[in-house]
Assembly symmetry: C2
């Protein structure tokens, strides 16, 4: 199964229960702990371990303990129209703020057809798809995007000025799985370059630049250099648009202004901006008719003649749904290093890790 | 100046006047001819000659003459909510339909904060940026996307099932030029491959596939094969999302269902779907404050340390604005072959081409 990492398997529900208790120990309310934990466990279930408890739990706990992430939710709607809202998150947990904002977008779209809600002074919100997918059960198309700290350069430049600024689009189907696109605007993640460097393996052309901004396939030069955006100036443009809308328009940080992020900085609030949108399908087509049409369209794509050596055509989101079914049945894999951290965290906070 | 083609220079206003008269000769109303012509002349001014009169005038006239594109506008709002509308274009001119839809989105966004309007049974609408940019003078962010006939395959496939499905985002600034992103979801356009094939020049890796779906840098194999989407499965996902929203959700053609397009098919209506959205800045931040913040953000990006051999960092839309200033002053270049066609068209319809 693509995307599955090695590690010791734990049932999702055991990890969920333990994670909820950990968050409550650092002053997160029971309700917010459940919500935050669900976003992380769902990311792990979908194979997106970079946004699951595997990477984020310790980071979030450390930030709360350092006093730079508020465990207590305070959300203020500072501007509001029938189809828009700007929510000041006052450094509350990103997932709690995002849940509020996405639900607000869905409620507004129910009456006006579509809505666009932005958060400011917020925090890391997990996987973008978790928010866009909230729209699906309401018969809506969901969208979300967020900015983040600079990791690549404008086209022609050689200093990082743009985050990978991910966005997600979720579209409901009928009997077929929903369409769920979730992507960062760089060709590959930095973790991929690190892995190639460890193996002294040449990168594919187009993945990265060296520190002088020249294209390189040397993973060591790339690690000192910059990631490449998808489609060159096209990905640069998409990332910049997301930064201007999520960051500049909401009055949050943007571009080079993040003073560090997550584990890199335990002194300053993250201060990201994120956006959430919903479009009600029945504003354009009756939902059952749309679901049938989507099923047909998805089956057509999946029936495409395959290139040499390819076994199957995937629709965005399908691989993650397959991993989810597997991990629900067999457990979420935790790498040994993560497991060691979790056991220590459990001991520190007096919530023994499952089996300890 | 990047993007400027060779050819004989003509003042934009002479070409505009002649083009408007040509369209009126094939039964387009004076008002609609002015609107359609403006979208084409603006594309030429911005250096986007693929969407200017240079490529589109003869195609549109031929389609009207063949009876597969209606010169007479008939637009019906078939569904409407405070922030959404679906407009049935009944095979009217794409630009006339799009102008109506984008203006409707802007009007709705004035009262509700944001709006999303879709057109169905429409036609080729020119350059996407022409529509997103309509929002700028209203202090809004504009967005537009459209689907089109299949030109590349889903990731892992080898038959064309997705259009290049372009989208555009326009964001107003203050003293700086506005941010205007307009991109197709393939790495390069087919025209670029054709040019390399003529010169027997090797393609850059990542541009195209051969007919078996294998990556190739041979331009001749690529011409028989497929274009590559930006970022591999990422661009595939973006193009598919646009097709599902613009095509499937509006009840227009999508995927492999286009029976041909533009000059390739003079028997069937094009039947594309397009989408138009507007977000009113003052729903999130006072416009003057936003304009100042955008100016600062744009200047920061432009001041990025430059890679070896790079003279200037561009913000999306800036190159086109530079070409526009040059072409307004010096004229729009028409290649000899286009000029010959125009003189013949002028003779056929009794509107002599300027200078003839």
């Amino acid at each position: 199964m693509p995307g599955v990492d090695g590690g010791v398997l734990f049932p999702a529900e055991e990890l969920r229960k333990w994670t909820e208790e950990i968050f409550q120990k650092v002053d997160v309310s029971k309700e917010d702990a459940a919500l935050l934990t669900d976003s992380l466990i769902e990311a792990n279930l979908r194979g997106v371990d970079t946004h699951g408890i595997t990477r984020m739990l310790t980071v979030y706990v450390n930030r709360i303990q350092a006093g730079v992430l508020s465990p207590r939710t305070k959300l203020d709607i500072v501007r509001e129209k029938p189809s828009t809202a700007l929510v000041d998150c006052n450094n509350s947990i990103g997932q709690v703020a995002s849940d509020y904002a996405m639900n607000l977008a869905i409620q507004k779209a129910k009456s006006t057809g579509t809505a666009f809600v932005a958060t400011t002074h917020s925090n890391h919100y997990g996987a973008a798809a978790y928010w866009s997918m909230k729209a699906l059960e309401h018969g809506m198309i969901g969208f979300s995007a967020t900015n983040g700290p600079a990791s690549f350069a404008p086209t022609g430049g050689r200093t990082p000025m743009l985050g990978t600024n991910p966005f997600s689009v979720a579209i409901p189907a009928g009997r077929e799985l929903p369409f769920v696109l979730d992507l960062a605007t760089t060709v590959v993640a930095r973790g991929r370059i690190t892995l190639y460097a460890k193996q002294n393996k040449e990168l594919e052309p187009g993945w990265a630049f060296d520190e002088m901004g020249r294209p390189t396939t040397d993973p060591h030069k790339a690690l000192k250099g910059l990631l490449a955006p998808i489609g060159g100036y096209k990905g640069y443009g998409i990332a910049l648009a997301i930064d201007m809308i999520s960051g500049v328009m909401t009055g949050s940080k943007y571009g080079t202004h993040f003073p560090g992020f997550l584990a890199d900085n335990l002194k300053d609030p993250t201060d990201v901006g994120s956006v959430f949108a919903a479009i009600s399908i029945d504003s354009f087509m009756d939902l059952p008719e749309f679901q049938d049409a989507m099923d047909t369209a998805i089956r057509e794509v999946k029936s495409c003649a395959r290139a040499e050596g390819v076994e199957r055509i995937y629709v965005p989101g399908e691989i993650e749904m397959g991993i989810r079914a597997d991990r629900l049945a067999n457990g979420i894999p935790l790498p040994e290093a993560v497991l060691t951290d979790f056991v220590a965290l459990g001991t520190e906070l007096g919530v023994a890790f499952p089996g300890e």
